[in-house]
Amino acid sequence: MLFLGGRREAVSDIQIRSSKRPEIEGGESMNFELTPEQELIKKAAREFTDELVAPRVEQMEATHESPKDLYKAMGEAGFLGVMVPEEYGGSNLGSLAAMLIIEEISRVSSALGTGLQVHILGYVPLVQMGSEELKRKYLPGMVTGDYIATCAVTEASGGSDPTSMSTVAVKQGDEWVINGRKCFITMNDTANACCVVAKTKDEPKKEFTGFFVDKTMDGYRTGRMEHKIGFHGLDNGDLAFVNCRVPESNIIGAQGKGIAVAFGGIGRWGRLGMSSAALGVIKGSLDAAVKFANERILYGKPIAELQAIQFKIAEIFYLLQTSRLVAYKAAWLVDQNTPDAELGPHVACSKLFATQSAIRAANLAVEIMGGYGVVAEYSAERFMRDANMIWAAAGTADIMNIIMARGALAGKE
């Protein structure tokens, strides 16, 4: 034998096991697969995240600074304009596509994923209810990232009680003057445009109106910044409106439609967006836990062989599966233009379940990693902090419960 020495044992009949699924006879079945186009969108987001976002996370955690160039990059990749209609330069691919993108980004940085979700939330009211003039003025810039948007509803009076807000808008000529202070607004500094809801009448009945404002308008400015436990690299804080003058033409929908404007956006997108961020956190936690379990040696073997660890990993796995099902279904319902009454409980369900699952999954990852789970070098503690940020955004779990209960009591399932 002229080479290599040693015996030669033929591996005969190499069988390559096929993964082709058998066809089911007769009739169509429910389809749980993403379409090839959706797979491609997911892939585009995954590659973007792995190449451009992953290297920046450490810096975002250290400096808490918003990576403004990544928003531009998301514009070039087409992610910012995912829900903008094609006539304004967007790709109009719908909620499920947006959800897949945010999930992929959030797997590595839920701060950036949430930034993308809030930007969409900021412009979606224009898409849903804005005039042609407003759409043409702002939407193209939303696609490129020249405009970054946010949504300003919450005040010190409580996000769960929006009609108690004290921000007012008073008509003067053909302008409205807005005065008030919004708080806990994501991207208060990064965003240069926002959809703001103000009270336009007190008597005989309270009336609220949605306005679209941008930072060229006097009197709309960034207020104090919050120091949060998570979502580092994503600003959060106050927006101050001090005699902010807004043209009448910047009213979204019509005067008096403020609550519908706000909850059109939050109920038909914002909650889904936060669910996607939660899905990303669960997936990121699973990846981190699996990698650690395969590498960490105790008692002479990887801890992945210990049942206690396996059970925790199993739990993260099932949280991921169930959260995805509920969230994707809710997005699908939105894309099917399901009316609010039917849609609301499912969206609420996805937000509640995905958020609580994210908190639990991140905690499990921390547990699996032991001492390494609570040190900054490893990602588990970041997932834990970020998961807890999702809870209050776009409606607390308590509000989600109320929506679901009302739906169930009205006979919805």
């Binding site: 034998m1 002229l2 080479f3 290599l4 395969n294 590498e295 040696i297 002479g300 073997k301 990887p302």
Partner: protein, 337 residues
């Protein structure tokens, strides 16, 4: 009588090491097949090079010495090899080194002759029907494959440098005494569209100091190193025990090591006295580059890693704990001679 042709490469008057290996191997094959060995020499101003082949037992040298062959022009070189087969008959096999030129020219020649070409062989053998067995790493590097060209001739193959066992025993194996090789010289032929490829400028590459190939000790790292800091640990260990640093493809893809540190099928062949494989799974693509009877040690967190089947000593451990302990112990011991 079966003809075994070896395409010979030379650079600045020096015989390429792979060509020498192939001529030695070619002699053994020719003897086994009761055939003849021929060397193919194509180039410009190469007549003087023939003396470099002295001492190698070659039956025939087919030489084409022409300014048309001044640099590797795929169309011209292919046409001239085909012309050799027309003039001297199709051989049983043509062996090329798996060099830039060989990997370009061999498949083109094979396509012209509608025959098979096996790329990057790491071993050669013959079966009972005198077919050439062309051994290549296969299926993602977990196994070897045997490629055969059963019905077509010539059998064409490119062979990786450093893979064939060309110890002195092989040259001894040829007991046949033959005289000096017969020289056959041909004019170059020119195909159509020669002007489609023009050389504008040729710049010699700086000669890189070869640290890995002759190293007595090697510390090699793979995917399991996990990061740049871990790689530094590896480098410290190598320095402490006077070893060269090697790498597998994953470590290079991750950017921890330069491409020229790669050991294996797509990299260098080494023959160290001591080899440490750290965080390396041990697939064939890498292991095939480690030759010789030196001592091999593997450190890996995965007890099922294939590398443990190819080493003398195996340790299931996290290198990030073991290597610092080893460095510590090395520092503390009294220096021995």
């Amino acid at each position: 009588m079966k003809q075994i042709w070896v395409y010979v490469e030379q650079h600045e008057g020096q015989l390429a090491p792979i060509s020498k290996e192939l001529l030695l191997m070619g002699r053994v094959l020719a003897d086994r097949l009761h055939g003849q060995l021929a060397a193919l020499l194509l180039g410009d101003n190469i007549a003087g090079f023939i003396s470099a082949l002295a001492g190698l037992k070659i039956d025939n040298i087919y030489m084409i010495d022409s300014s048309a062959l001044g640099f590797y022009h795929p169309l011209i070189f292919t046409e001239n090899i085909i012309n050799l087969t027309n003039q001297f008959g199709q051989p049983d096999m043509i062996l090329f080194g798996a060099t830039y030129l060989g990997r370009d020219l061999a498949p083109a020649v094979a396509a012209r002759l509608a025959t098979g070409c096996a790329a990057d062989c790491c071993g050669l053998d013959l079966d009972e029907d005198e077919n050439l067995l062309q051994i290549v790493p296969g299926l993602g590097g977990t196994v070897y494959g045997t490629i055969v060209t059963p019905h077509c001739r010539p059998q064409v193959a490119t062979i990786k440098p450093g893979m064939l066992d060309t110890s002195e025993d092989l040259t001894e194996a040829s007991a046949l005494a033959i005289g000096a090789p017969q020289l056959h010289q041909l004019e170059a032929v020119l195909p159509d569209r020669v002007e489609a490829i023009k050389l504008i400028e040729a710049r010699p590459k700086p000669i890189k100091e070869e640290k890995l190939e002759g190293a007595r000790r090697i510390v090699a790292g793979g995917a399991g190193i996990g990061g740049k800091e871990g790689w530094t640990l590896l480098e410290n260990l190598a320095e402490q025990i006077e070893a060269a640093v090697g790498a597998t493809r994953p470590a290079i893809d991750e950017g921890w090591a330069d491409h020229d540190l790669m050991i294996g099928q797509s990299g260098k062949t080494v023959k160290p006295e001591l080899y440490f494989g750290i965080g390396i799974s041990g697939d064939m693509m890498h292991m095939v580059g480690i030759k010789g009877k030196g001592v091999r040690v593997a450190i890996n967190t995965d007890p099922k890693a294939p590398i443990f089947q190819h080493v003398d000593y195996g340790i299931v451990a996290d290198y990030q704990e073991l290597v610092p302990a080893l460095l510590d112990a090395l520092q503390k011991r009294s220096p021995n001679s």
